[in-house]
């Protein structure tokens, strides 16, 4: 039963395989270039297991110690997982111990497979989702670790490699932009951050930015809700 589920799950993880190796290696090289041994990206990719936050964590490890800010940042960056969870409440029911691992390892890519795939007949859905989650996590943690090891062995000039994080967020931001009909939230996020960065400086702008984003979104709710209704056919 397990082998059958593994065989069914593997092909679905192949596209993720390519993406994770590229980003994971880049993450490992970046962490190593920032002065961390391979143990850091290895443990972070195994325990945090959320790509965008892991990049930010490296940056935060280089900044002054600020645990509360780190926690709020983690909650905000990962807030979207709340909605993944809501969509999987039913699917994860009655899977025993596997359920806890499935929740633990529910990153964007794993969620998109487990949520959308019609599991072939005769394949145990619990084991299928378990292997999708496990394979994806192995790709990610493996590539991050290898990237960091390669970075430390090759002694190449890695100055500027941190731009991979900027490019990643620019691309995710653009993807959100193309998907949405109303750009208020995107523009708000950019504007508030720039204003707070100017007012509070690079080391202190995150918390005011995050508070302002949530407060302003709450204030704009009646208007955005209304626009949403007008835009939808």
């Amino acid at each position: 039963m397990r082998y059958k589920a593994l065989k069914a799950a593997f092909p679905y993880t192949l596209p993720i395989f390519t993406g994770f190796w590229f980003l994971g290696m880049a993450y490992g090289i970046y962490a190593n270039a920032s002065g961390f041994s391979f143990l850091y990206p290895m443990f972070m990719s195994l325990l945090i297991y959320g790509g965008s936050l892991e990049f930010v964590t490296v940056e935060m490890l280089l900044s002054p110690f600020a645990p509360v800010q780190v926690l709020i940042m983690a909650l905000l960056i990962q807030a979207r997982h709340l909605f993944y969870g809501l969509s999987m409440l039913d699917k994860f029911k009655g899977l025993g111990w596997k359920k806890y691992y499935l929740i633990f390892g529910m990153c964007d890519e794993t969620f998109s497979i487990n949520c959308s795939v019609d599991i072939p007949e005769g394949v145990d859905s619990g084991w299928f989702m378990f292997f999708v989650t496990l394979l994806n996590q192995l790709y990610w943690a493996g590539s991050a670790t290898l990237g960091a090891l390669a970075g430390s062995l090759l002694h190449i000039n890695t100055e500027g490699i941190s731009f991979v994080m900027t490019a990643m967020f620019v691309v995710i931001f653009l993807e959100q932009w193309m998907k949405e009909t109303n750009h208020t939230a995107s523009i708000l996020g950019l504007l508030i951050s720039v204003i707070c960065l100017i007012c509070f400086g690079a080391d202190a702008f995150l918390i005011p930015t995050m508070i302002l984003i949530v407060v302003l979104l709450a204030l704009l709710k009646p208007r955005l809700d209304k626009k949403e209704q007008e835009d939808s056919p």
Binding site: L71, R80, G85, E159, V164, A202, L217, K221
Partner: protein
């Protein structure tokens, strides 16, 4: 940062992540509907957060000193154009990063 502070920092990231992943399974069930405000935030928060993260990456770029943020600006434009053209995440990220590295090491030396 000391090693203990590093471990606490990483633990905070693990805690934050796992809170967002486990919370729905702890507090919501099919009988209880998700509060409307939570649904609203779910729809609009990600765009704002990713906008914030783009700025976060650029927080140490100075417009008035050194290279005036030109390599970053050009590389972001290239990333964006690649993405509008091919809409392939890997090509855009790799292309933008290579462009930035070339600018940094060969043009704005």
């Amino acid at each position: 940062m000391t090693l203990t502070q590093q471990i606490i920092t990483i633990a905070m990231c693990v805690l934050g992540t796992m809170a967002t992943r486990f919370l729905p399974f702890i507090i919501f069930n099919e009988k209880r509907r998700t509060p409307e405000f939570v649904q609203y935030l779910g729809k609009f928060l990600p765009s704002a957060v990713f906008g914030m993260l783009v700025i976060y990456c650029l927080k140490n770029v100075s417009l008035f000193h050194g290279t005036h943020g030109l390599p970053e600006g050009i590389a972001i434009l290239v990333t964006g154009m690649l993405h509008c053209w091919k809409r392939n995440m890997l090509i855009s990220i790799a292309g933008g990063t290579i462009c930035y590295l070339l600018l940094l090491h060969f043009v704005f030396v």
